[in-house]
Amino acid sequence: MKKEHSKAKKYGMVIDLDKCTGCGACMVACMAENNVPFKKDESNKLDSITWLRVFKLTNGKSFPDADTCYLPRPCMHCEGEHGHAPCVSVCPATATDYSHETGIVSQIYTRCFGCRYCMAACPYHARYFNWWDPVWPEGMEKLLNPNVSVRMRGVVEKCSFCFHRYQAAKEKAYYEGRQELEEDEYQTACTQACPAGAITFGDLNNPKHAVYELKKDKNAFRLLERLGTNPKVYYISTRKWVRQAGDNYLEGYETEGKVKKHR
């Protein structure tokens, strides 16, 4: 029988958009932590691997009433129904998977054969394809993190909630004869990096973790909730227009301004 305290974990994030300054530290932390490759030209955002992408939302009003908001978008580690994340169930080679133990949607680069079906499935554009062989300027491959494997051309990759940090924390715990991790032992690189403290990470199932309460904040929302993707990243914003930008609404009842779609 399952032990009570080895209850399945559900790691997730709550991102306070009021605090997020859009500085991009999380993106860089993520790239540095996860050996994300970079090309000479990364200004084509349709072809730029950013596990964590900070989107810039605008409220669509004109000059003095304009407003913007940054929205960091890691992989949502959707739970879908019982772990059937949109991307997980479509992968023909089981290269991506959902673990009930941690709630992490994993991506195995060496299993992926690059059919990109998962990318088609993910409405968050959280998945990136290695269109190019990754290349590091000479000497710069020294900064690669051995805890994350380097991806090769032709495979899909995405945010892993820095699972290798979970593994490292587990190793330490094993070494010290412990079973459970403390909240601060496993934190994602982006969470750790955010100078504004906008990102909170933890086990959504664990009442002792900060995310447990935060996710219930009255201003909390998730992206595209109504599609049934059941994402594990929550956002908080005190601005109504931002909250409304989290999903597609058909009724025109927004007061603060209609979400403008980029053209």
């Binding site: 997980v88 133990e101 994350v148």
Partner: protein, 221 residues
């Protein structure tokens, strides 16, 4: 498709068939045997290149000298990570000077110790980069012993030849010595299936939604 049907030719052909059956079978067998030989004998020879370790090492000898078995040299670091193959620093305590008669020892001291160069050991059990393997989870967490995966290395008196797969660059020990992938001992092979098998058996994190088996990230990074 056509519907023509010529019974006569068919008859003939049947007879013709009877005449030359022997040859056909002979050639079939020649082809069969030739390919079997090349596939079973030649191919493995060609597939792997042999490499020698920079110097030889006698595990058994060292096992007698240390107190804590394998962990004496292959230890865990404070953060739970595994130090793997010892660094020069660990050897230097005893090997500042040449110890015995063996030429390897001499080489070791001259080439590496005095020059402060690390020995470029070839690691038999080196897993590919995509693999995450936590020694501590297995040794401390699950209480396994080293031999389960590595075999009785501690009893060896010298290092075997290191065979490298010419295509993949892996050590042969990963696929296992047996070219057809059959294993007798738990340590005869170190492929994903071997990990998975043991995990399934012990119910380690069988939490994948897709496979119902182990979650991928348990062993991949």
């Amino acid at each position: 498709m056509s519907t023509s049907d010529d019974l006569k030719t068919k008859k003939d052909s049947v007879e013709a068939g009877d005449g030359s059956g022997g040859f056909i079978i002979l050639f079939f067998i020649i082809g069969l045997v030739a390919s079997l030989i090349s596939g079973w004998l030649l191919f493995p020879k060609l597939l792997y290149s042999e490499k020698k370790q920079p110097i030889d090492f006698n595990h058994a000898l060292h096992m007698e000298l240390v107190d804590e078995g394998c962990e004496s040299c292959h230890f865990f670091r404070e953060d739970g990570t595994y130090a793997g193959v010892p660094k020069l620093a660990q050897c230097i305590d005893c090997h500042e000077e040449v110890q015995g008669e063996s030429p390897d020892e001499a080489t070791f001291v001259e080439e590496y110790v005095t020059k402060g160069r690390e020995v470029p050991w070839l690691i038999y059990s080196q897993q590919p980069d995509c693999v995450f393997f936590s020694h501590v989870a297995h040794v401390k967490g699950a209480g396994m012993d080293c031999a389960t995966c590595h075999g009785p290395i501690g009893e060896s008196t010298s290092l075997k030849v290191y065979e490298e797969n010419r295509i993949t660059g892996y050590s042969r020990d990963i696929w296992g010595k047996n070219i057809s992938g059959i294993k007798k001992h738990t340590w005869d092979r170190m492929k994903m299936d071997d990990c998975a098998e043991c995990h399934v058996k012990n119910g380690v994190n069988q939490s994948s939604v897709q496979t119902g088996k182990g979650a991928c990230f348990v062993c991949h990074k």
